[in-house]
Every structure is written in structure tokens, then in C-alpha cells.
Symmetry: C3
Subunit: 272 residues, 3 copies
Amino acid sequence: MDASATTTLTAADLAGALERYRTDMPLVQCLTNTVVQNFTANVLLASGASPAMVDNPREAGEFARIAGGVLVNLGTPQESTVAAMRHAVEAAGAAGTPWVLDPVAVGGLSWRTEIAAELPGIAAPTVVRGNASEVAAVAGGSGGGRGTESVDTPDDVAEAAQELARRFSGAVAVSGEVDLITDGDRTVRLAHGTPLLQKVTGAGCALGALVAGFAAVSDDPLVAASTATALFTLAAEDAAAASSGSGSFAVGLVDALGALSPEALADRVRIS
Amino acid sequence: MDASATTTLTAADLAGALERYRTDMPLVQCLTNTVVQNFTANVLLASGASPAMVDNPREAGEFARIAGGVLVNLGTPQESTVAAMRHAVEAAGAAGTPWVLDPVAVGGLSWRTEIAAELPGIAAPTVVRGNASEVAAVAGGSGGGRGTESVDTPDDVAEAAQELARRFSGAVAVSGEVDLITDGDRTVRLAHGTPLLQKVTGAGCALGALVAGFAAVSDDPLVAASTATALFTLAAEDAAAASSGSGSFAVGLVDALGALSPEALADRVRIS
Amino acid sequence: MDASATTTLTAADLAGALERYRTDMPLVQCLTNTVVQNFTANVLLASGASPAMVDNPREAGEFARIAGGVLVNLGTPQESTVAAMRHAVEAAGAAGTPWVLDPVAVGGLSWRTEIAAELPGIAAPTVVRGNASEVAAVAGGSGGGRGTESVDTPDDVAEAAQELARRFSGAVAVSGEVDLITDGDRTVRLAHGTPLLQKVTGAGCALGALVAGFAAVSDDPLVAASTATALFTLAAEDAAAASSGSGSFAVGLVDALGALSPEALADRVRIS
């Protein structure tokens, strides 16, 4: 597998997924960190999905059976929410619900690195979304880094991402200046976005939730991860153009997510 | 009791409650879900109240004795916060502190449905605020629904709401396109607001907190719930007129809550 | 020690600290309340730091060893996060990592008052930041108050703050209309800011996080606390001038934190 492998994805594939998303309004269960729950829920609502943050051990599995997609984000694990993640992943696997793993700071911190290794053993994630360090760590590479920042670029870990995608029979989305999304067979690069995304907490986490939403309306994990990434980064470009800093950018990003149509996405996205 | 029963509430009753609220700055204890804590606190502050999110088992009862009103919202229950809710409700009952139950997704998920049945047995809630499905579930009806969305309208559950209000000797506020508020004897309908409220996470949850604040300054639960609803939905109309999407709407809603005077509320509110 | 003791701090000291902060982008670990995690992280990012909310018992100590500064905020303690705080403070003490104590509502609530007494016994905080009531309570005075509000002014507790700073060989920052910062030897007063800061939840909490960030780039706790306070309150003045209420003010504050240069800070700050 060559990291420069061309893709067969088209802008029309992404626009079609966004159309289904807006029609179906997928129910997205988020077991995510407490820092970004609010922003994530508002991003999902603006984009057209329906969020539900059911993250306690007694109800997480119950809900994963009726959710359209499940996000598991390891940003602020606690005993109770990790127990809930186990139940949600198990129920998602049993029900055929797609689930997304966002391995925040995995590789850099010990407990969450164990959890990220354990959960895919319960049921393989449909998509893994993270920065280059996190993806490398999940794939078994060096990883590390300080907090949620990455020291590598997505292309540095392209082969590890492709191998990981094949291992899980899913897709892997590596966020960076140029986003790389692969299912092990096809590899997509998207160069949209703005440096302001690095200045808003939970931008990557919210993208992970969008991926879970698109996985609910598309059987192709590569399409799901690519559409979420394109929608999020194109909306970010719109918001950046109208912002006065990272505060107004975050607000404008939510506005822009609701305003971006499938037609505009198809027209503007550049897939390479 | 007829669901179309007329009300004796006047705009002056609501304006009077808002005047007292602005003067007294009631202290509102919120045991609420982690998704909406920040937005709820900012809504309370903007409206003129003083929020305190004391939700641990060791301090929740202690604080409920000095709070003006207590909100219990079941959006993201965990063992520790549910234990805190029990202490807070018990202390509120003992101290005569009004408390509001917001039964998020009750009827649709098992554990919180049990909690919503248990807490009123400790002390009757002053107000129950939810959507039609949630109110029906608390009342013992079918309920259900997916996540925090409601499949019914408030008027579909008017009789159940009235019966529930009588059972608790309090009020029940059912949120929807036309909000319905009842104390079992009098029933008020308010048709203010905007569809954008459905696109901001925690709009209903923040309204529940406002109800707890108004219950601190009004002995009449119907007045408390109606004033909170009128203030929130009229401010939402102002914010919607100036917004570019759900992100800027949420920000503008907080601004508008602080700007709306008792006089403007009295002038604009339409009670039916 | 006289509460009116003059300071030897200059505007250039503060500008120098901000320059180092912008260059070093300190990694700030926040064990803070769930209400303000998102706002705090965005404030840190906008100001130029790198936030990491690692607050579970299994990883908090591990992370405190690599963090540049640690914030411990007692706003919403739970058993698990308090256990994490103990580990983080112990690791910070062992590694020489500066840590900041924000004793939210200490003096008014029992459990957190015990925690605020216990943690400095593990390792002395570099800075204590709170309102007058909270600082008085940590110092052993009367304290109390309702929730996060203070009934006293910073100058009312100047001597207690000075004694506390000497006890910990650190600094104490008392927030109020006129902020007072002391290391027991030198005492600084800053009169910037806006009443709108009282209308945004977590304004003080976010300031505590900034103090931890500046403590990572300055060996002088008085400089760290003063620079954080000056940056935050000057940015607040900019945001207030352009806001329409507390919602847009909070957004503008984040924008303004990113826009304020060391030169502008030096030019505008008035130290007395």
C-alpha cells in the first residue's frame, strides 16, 4: 500500500452523504470528555444531527442499541464513564451500530492508552479519528506528544493509519494541516480548514462526533469520515473569514455548519 | 378539569415576578447535566440570578438549605450526582426550598426513569419541566421518544400534566411550539420562542434553571414557571432576529436575557 | 507589613512575562470544575498557552510531572477528581511544578473547606487565587458568603492575604473591583476590568488557569499572578467596549485575550 494511492471518492459521494444526514438527522451517542460536551452537542445540532450524551454505565449500552452512531472520546476518562464506554462498545458491536474511537492523548498517558487498546477488542471501531501522534499510538507506533498536540503530520503516519484501517476493517482519519483519511485501500487527503481550529478546544473532538453521525447514514466508513472532515473544515474556512479571534470563530463555526449545503460542499471540496 | 381552562394569570403577575427576581438575585443550586452546566450558569447570571452548581453528595444537602431554589436535571446522571440529588431534594423538602425536576429523556431510558419516580417520594417537586414525552413519562403515561426530543405536543399531554401538577401540589411546564403550564387548576399557554431553540443544546435545561430561580421569588409555582418561560422565549425571539445561525443565536440569547425588562415582558407577553 | 506597601513591579516585568508566555506556550494542567472547563481551555488557548484537563486519579500525577503549571479549582469536587487533585499536587511538589489553588466557595461549604486545608499540606501552592471571602477562609479567617460571591473587598483581607503568601512562600491574588496581589513582601493593586466579569460564569476560574500558565514562565509568583490579572482584566475592558451583554462579552473576551500584545499590556497597565 502506497501512501500516495489515489482515491475513488468523488465530491458527489460526500454531497450525497450530507444530503442523507440532513434528511435522517442521525441520533449520535457521545461518550466524550466533559470539556467539550457542550460544543460537541451544538456542532451536532447545527450540522443536522441529534446528540445524546448518555455516558453512565447503567444506560450507555441500552442507548447504543438505538443510536445511529456512537462516539467514544478518551479526553477525560473516569472510572464510571470508562465502564459506560465498555457497555456502549459492546452494545454497538452486537447491534451493528457504527462507533468511532477518538484516542485523545493516547500514547502520552498510561491509563487511556490501555483503554484505547482494550475497547477495539470488544468490537472493532468503524473509524479511528485523531492526530498523527494519537493514531500512531493506537497503531502501536511511538506516539506520545504533549497533551492533545501532535508533533507529526498525517502523512508521517500514513502507512500506520492504513494498516490500522485494515486491521479494523474500517477507516482512520488523521487530522492535521492536510487531513488524511484512509480505509487501508483508498487514501483521501483534504487540505481545507484554518489554523484557528487549533485555538478552539474540542475542534477535533467535535469532528469525531460528526464522523459518528455520518457513519450512521453511510455504509462506507471512508465516505463517512471524509464527509465529516470536509463539512467541518469548509465550515471552518467560512467562520475564519468572518471572525475576530478564536472566540468569535467558534461561534461562527457553529453558524457555518448549519449554513453549508450539500451543493456548496460538492462545489468547494478538493479531494486529493 | 378541562385542558382548555382559562387562566387568571396576567402580564402584570409575570412582570412583578421578574421585578422581584432582579432585585433579590435568587441563589439557584443546579444539579444538572455536564453538557449544559456552563450555558445554564450564564443564562442564570444574565437573567439576574446567582448560580451555584453544587452537585456532590457531601455538600448538596448543605447547600440546598441556603439556596433560594434547586434544579434537579437528569440529563447525565452518575452514581455520585444522583446521590447528591437525593440529599438536595431531602434538604430542600425539609427547609421548604422550592425544587424543580427536569426529567431529561425519562421514559426513554431505564435508570433515570427510576430516579424520576424516586425523587418526588422524598419531597414533592415544586415544578416539573420537560417536553411532552418526558412529562407523560413522569405522569405515568407512555412517553419514550429518542433522546431529548419529543414526539408529542404539549396539548397532547395537557390532562396528564394537570393531573401531575395536582399530585405534587405544584406546577408542570410542558415545553413545545406552544408552551403549556398548569397547576392543575389554571392552565396557561405561551406561544413565544423560535425554532432555533431546538438547535441549541440545553435550551430546555436552562429554562428549568430559570424556573427554579423564579420559584425562589414567587410562592405561586404557576407564576414562577410562566414567568421563566415568558422571559426565556421572548429573549429567544430577540436573539433569533439578530442571529446568523444557532451559534450566534445562543450568544444573543444570553445577551437578550439581560436586556429584557419587566416592562417589556409585560408589554409583549401573550397569555392564553 | 503594611497593606499599603508600595510595589517594585513594573509594567516591563509584566510585558516580559507575557512575551515568554507567548513564546513558550506553557502546558497548563487544569483540575477544575466541570462548569468552566470549556471556557477555561478556550481562554488558555487564546492567551497562547496549551491546556490539558487531566483530572482522573490514574493520570493526574503522571501529567503533573510534565506540565508547566497545574491549576486546582474546587468548584465541583467529586471523590474521583479530589483524589486526582491529591496526586497532582504531590507530583507537582516533587517535580517542582508550580501549582495554583482556586478555593471556590471555600469557607461557605464544608467538604471543600477541608480539601483546601489538606492540599497545601501535601505541597505549598505557588499562588492562591480567589475572592476576598475565599482567601480569608483559606487564611483561617471568617470567610463564608453565598456560593462564589464575595461580601468583602480585597483590601478588607489584605493582611490575611499577605500572611498567607508568606506562609506558602508564594503569592496570593484576591479578585475584586480592585484586584490585590501580594507575596507578603510586595503588594500590587490593579484596577482594570469591568462589572461584566461578574456576569460570566468562570471568569475567576479562567483567571486562575492563566495564573498557572504564567507561573510556568516566571519564577516570581507575584509577577505570574499580576501578569495574568493584568492580561485578563485589560482584555475584559476591550471586550466590554464591543459587547451587547454578557453573552457577546464572553466571546469577545476570548478574542481580546489573543489580540493583546505585550506592548499594549505594558502601555495600558496601571500598577499601584
